[in-house]
Amino acid sequence: MGLRSAMASVFGRGDDGALSVPPMDGVFKPNNRLETAERVVEIAAIDNLTVAAGALYGSSGDALMRIDPKGGAAAIVRRFDGEITMLTASQSGRIAVGVQGAGLALLDGAKQAQVFDLPADCRSCITAGLFRDEDNLALAIGSRRHSWSEWKWDLMSHGATGAVANARVSTGAFEITSGNLAFPYGLAVGDDDCLFVSESWRHRIVSLPTSGTIPRPVLSELPAYPARIVAACDGGYWLAFFAPRRQLTEFVLQEDDYRREMMETIPPESWIGPDFADGSSEEQPLQAGSVRQMGIMKPWAPSRSYGLVVHLDRSMAPTASYHSRADGSTHGVASIVEWGGQLYAASRGAGALIRLGLSASAST
C-alpha cells in the first residue's frame, strides 16, 4: 500500500479512501417490479438462459434443462461432469456449454456433445458466450486463476485475470483477444460490431473494438455487480446485476489484512461480500436492514443480495429498471433472455424462472 492510498484510507478521502457506492436513484430508483413478477417455474440454482431452435434452455448445477415456460415445466436434456457456467446458442440452434473444469462443449441439437479444447487456465470459469456467426464464438473467461465456484475468492483477491477470447468452431483455434479484465461476466454485440463486456468487479460495461484490444468504458459507476448482458428486441440491451454494491463490502475490499484473515479463517458462504441469495441464516447480516426505514438506510446492516435487471438503450444509457429489494427474494439474477415478447430472468436466489411482461413500462 502506497503512502497516498494509506493516507486516503485513514482519512476516508479520495477515490482510494472514500467508502461510498453510487446511489440507486434516477433510472435505478428501487421498485418491486422484479419481486412481484410472475414465477414461471421453480428450479434450484437456475442460471444461463438461452434460446435455441425455438426453445428455452437453462441450467441447474450440472444439468442442462429445456424449459417450457407456458406449462411451467422443465426437463433435463443432459448432465455434464461439472457445473454449467455458460450457455449460448447460434442461429442454427447449436448450443455451446461452458462446464467448470471441463471447458467448452458444443451440442448440435442432438444430445451428443463435442468437447472443444481450451487452455487449462480458461476451462473453469467461462462466464458468457456469444456466437458472432456459426463459426466464431466469443467467450468471456471470468478468471484464469479461479474457477467459477471460486468467484468470491476472485473478488476478494481483487482478481483481474479475466479475458475475452474467440474460439473458431470449425478449426478449434482459440485466441485471447483481451485480457486483464476484472471478471467479465456478460457479452453482447454493439452496432459497430464491437463487443460490449460487463466487467463485474469494476462495476462497468466496456466496449472492445474489433481492431485493438483496449477496452473503453461505456457505462461505469454502476450501483451493483453486473452479470449477463443480452440484446433487446428494441435495439437496446438488458443487463442483469447479480448482487448489490454496499459500503461494508467496499470497506472489506479496502482492508487487506482483514480480508486476508477472513479468507483464511471463515468459509466463503459467511464472508462479508455480495452473494446470489440471502442465505436465510441467522448468522448473516440482517437483510431487511437495507430497507429504508423511517427514511434512513442502515449501512451497518447491508444486504448481500439483491435483484436487479436494467434496460439500456442503444448507447448504453439506462432507461428502465426492475428490482427485488433487500426485503424480497428474487435475488441473484445473473441471466436474462428476451423471447416471445417476454423477458425471462433466472433468479438463483429464489431458484425460479421469472417472467416480466414488457408491455408494462418499467420505472424510469
Binding site: G12, R13, A18, Q247, A317
Partner: protein, 498 residues
C-alpha cells in the same frame, strides 16, 4: 375570555406582497400554542409583528386586552413579549451572567454580585447553567436557556420560539421541552414554531396552521393527527396559473449522469447525502428548513467544505472532485445561483453588465489579455437581451433593479460561464409573478439545451411545476425520490417531515 394575545384581521404586506392576510390568531394565558406551516407561510412574520420587529399593515394586535402597536422589540419586551430566535442573540465572548444583565448594568458593577443574581435567577427557573461560563462554550440548548432566562429577567410572560429545536440534539430537545413545560407552569404563554410535527403534537395545547399567509386551521391538539396537519399545510388550491401546468407536462428523460454525491457529510448539516443529477433534466430538491439542501449544493459548488475525515465523495461526470473555492467549481462547469442574492449574488453598486461579466472572469480569463469595458458590456449585453433584464436606464446599478431583474442578473452571471451543471437555490424567492414565469422559462430552456439543472425550492407548487424528478431532503440526507408522475404535495411533504 383569557386570550392574552389576539390578532384581529391582521395583514402584513411587504411592498404590496402579503406575508399574511386577514389572520385571526389568539394565544391564551398559560398555553403552548404551536404555529405550523410551510416555509413562507407567514409564521415567522406573524410572530415578528408580535415581537415588535414589524408593524401590521392593517388589522389589530391586542395584548392583555389592549390594542397595541409595538415599534421595537424593546417595547414588546416591556409589555412582556419576548422572542427567542433559532440563532440566539447572546454575546459569545461574555459570561452567562453578563449576558443576562446586558443593558441593565449599574454605574458601578460588582462582578460577584452579578454572578450571584444570575445564579439566583437560573436556579429559580431550574436551569442548570453555570453563570460564570462563557456563552461560546455552551451548547445550543443551554444557550436557549440563557436566552429564556434573560427574557424572564425582563419579566416576559409571552414567549415566542422560532424553530427552537432545529439545532438541538435529541437529549437537548427533551431538556427544552421540560423547560417549556416549566415556563407554562410558571404562568407563561408560549408560541412554538416548528417543522417537526411530532414535537408540536407532543407539547402543544393548541395548533394553528398557516398556509400561503392565511390561517387555515386552529384547534385543540387532540383533534389533529400528523396526516391532517400535512393535509392542512399543503392542501392549497392551485389557483395560480403559473403552477397549474405541472400535471400535463411530461418529464424529460435522464441523460448522462453529471453529478453524483456519495455519502457526503458536513457536520450536522449534511449527514451521508447520496444523490445524482442528470444532463437534460431538472432535479427538484425539496426540504424544510434545516434539511441540508443548500449545504449539499454549496459543497458541490465549492462554497462550503465537506468533512475532512470521511466526508464522502462528489463525482462530476464520473470523476471525483473536491473544490476548495467556488472558482475551481466554475472552471469545472458548476454554477451555483445563490438563495441570498443581496448578500452573495451581486455587487449592488456595480452596473448590470459589469456584474454579469464578473461571471466570465471567475471562470478564468487569460491573465495576459486586456478586456475593455466596451468588450465586457458587449459580452454581457447578449445575456441582458436573452434574459430580458429590464432597467430604468442603461447604466443602472443592480441595486436599482427589481427583485426579479436582480435575480436574472445573478442567473446571467452564472450562464455566461456556460455551465454543465447549474444549481438554483430558491430561484424565485422575493421575485414578482411575472419574473417567476420568465425565470422558470430560463430554467426549462437550460435543461432542454442539455444542462444538468438542480433547483432547490421550499415552495411545493414550484417544485412540482418545473421538476422532472423530485428529491426530498430531511436531516441532511436525501430521503425520497419521486418521479413527476407520482409526486403530489402530500407525498413530498410527508417525506419531508417523517
Amino acid at each position: 375570555m383569557n386570550d392574552i394575545v389576539e390578532f384581529k384581521h391582521a395583514t402584513k404586506e411587504f411592498r404590496g406582497v402579503p406575508a399574511f392576510r386577514n389572520v385571526g390568531f389568539s394565544l391564551r394565558k398559560g398555553e403552548i400554542h404551536a404555529l405550523l406551516g410551510e416555509n413562507g407561510a407567514g409564521k415567522s412574520t406573524l410572530t415578528k409583528v408580535l415581537a415588535g420587529l414589524y408593524p401590521l399593515t392593517s388589522g389589530e394586535l391586542w395584548v392583555d386586552g389592549q390594542p397595541r402597536t409595538f415599534t421595537s422589540p424593546g417595547e414588546a419586551l416591556a409589555h412582556g413579549v419576548a422572542m427567542v430566535f433559532q440563532e440566539t442573540n447572546l454575546v459569545p465572548s461574555m459570561t452567562v451572567a453578563q449576558n443576562l444583565f446586558l443593558g441593565e448594568e449599574r454605574f458601578f458593577n460588582r462582578l460577584r454580585g452579578v454572578n450571584i443574581r444570575a445564579q439566583q435567577q437560573l436556579q429559580r427557573l431550574s436551569f442548570h447553567v453555570e453563570p460564570t461560563a462563557l456563552v461560546s462554550s455552551l451548547g445550543a440548548a443551554k444557550k436557549q436557556m440563557v436566552e429564556i432566562a434573560r427574557a424572564v429577567q425582563h419579566k416576559a410572560r409571552i414567549f415566542i420560539f422560532d424553530e427552537p429545536t432545529a439545532a438541538l440534539t435529541p437529549e437537548e430537545k427533551e431538556h427544552f421541552f421540560a423547560l417549556v413545560e416549566h415556563l407554562k407552569a410558571e404562568g407563561g404563554s408560549i408560541i412554538f414554531i416548528s417543522h417537526a410535527l411530532e414535537e408540536a403534537l407532543a407539547i402543544a395545547d393548541r395548533i394553528s396552521i398557516l398556509r400561503d399567509g392565511e390561517l387555515v386551521a386552529t384547534d385543540q391538539t387532540r383533534n389533529f393527527s400528523k396526516d391532517s396537519i400535512v393535509q392542512a399545510m399543503v392542501g392549497r388550491q392551485l389557483k395560480d396559473a403559473l403552477y397549474s401546468g405541472a400535471a400535463a407536462r411530461e418529464a424529460r428523460p435522464a441523460g448522462r449522469k453529471v453529478l453524483t454525491l456519495e455519502n457526503l457529510s458536513m457536520g450536522k448539516a449534511v449527514r451521508g447525502a447520496t444523490m445524482s443529477a442528470f444532463a437534460g433534466q431538472i432535479t427538484g430538491m425539496f426540504g424544510l428548513v434545516g434539511a441540508g439542501r443548500t449545504e449539499m449544493m454549496k459543497i458541490v459548488a465549492g462554497v462550503l467544505k465537506r468533512d475532512f475525515f470521511h466526508g464522502g465523495r462528489i463525482k462530476l461526470n464520473g470523476r471525483s472532485v473536491r473544490f476548495g473555492v467556488p472558482r475551481q467549481a466554475s472552471r469545472h462547469g458548476v454554477a451555483y445561483v445563490t438563495e441570498d442574492r443581496k448578500l452573495d449574488g451581486f455587487f449592488d453598486r456595480m452596473g448590470i453588465a459589469q456584474n454579469i461579466f464578473l461571471g466570465k472572469l471567475v471562470k478564468g480569463a487569460n491573465p495576459l489579455s486586456v478586456v475593455t469595458m466596451a468588450q465586457a458590456v458587449r459580452e454581457a449585453s447578449k445575456w441582458i437581451e436573452q434574459l430580458n433584464i429590464r432597467a430604468i436606464r442603461q447604466k443602472a446599478r443592480v441595486v436599482e433593479l427589481s427583485g426579479g431583474n436582480q435575480q436574472k442578473v445573478v442567473i446571467a452571471k452564472s450562464l455566461i460561464q456556460a455551465p454543465q451543471l447549474i444549481i438554483f437555490d430558491e430561484p424565485t424567492r422575493g421575485v414578482d409573478v411575472g419574473a417567476i414565469a420568465e425565470i422558470h422559462a430560463i430554467i426549462q430552456e437550460l435543461a432542454d439545451a442539455g444542462a444538468a439543472v438542480v433547483v432547490i425550492s421550499s415552495y411545493l407548487p414550484e417544485i412540482l411545476a418545473i421538476s422532472d424528478r423530485i428529491l426530498v431532503a430531511r436531516q441532511g440526507r436525501i430521503v425520497e425520490e419521486l418521479s413527476i408522475e407520482e409526486a403530489t404535495e402530500e407525498k413530498i411533504m410527508y417525506a419531508a417531515v417523517h
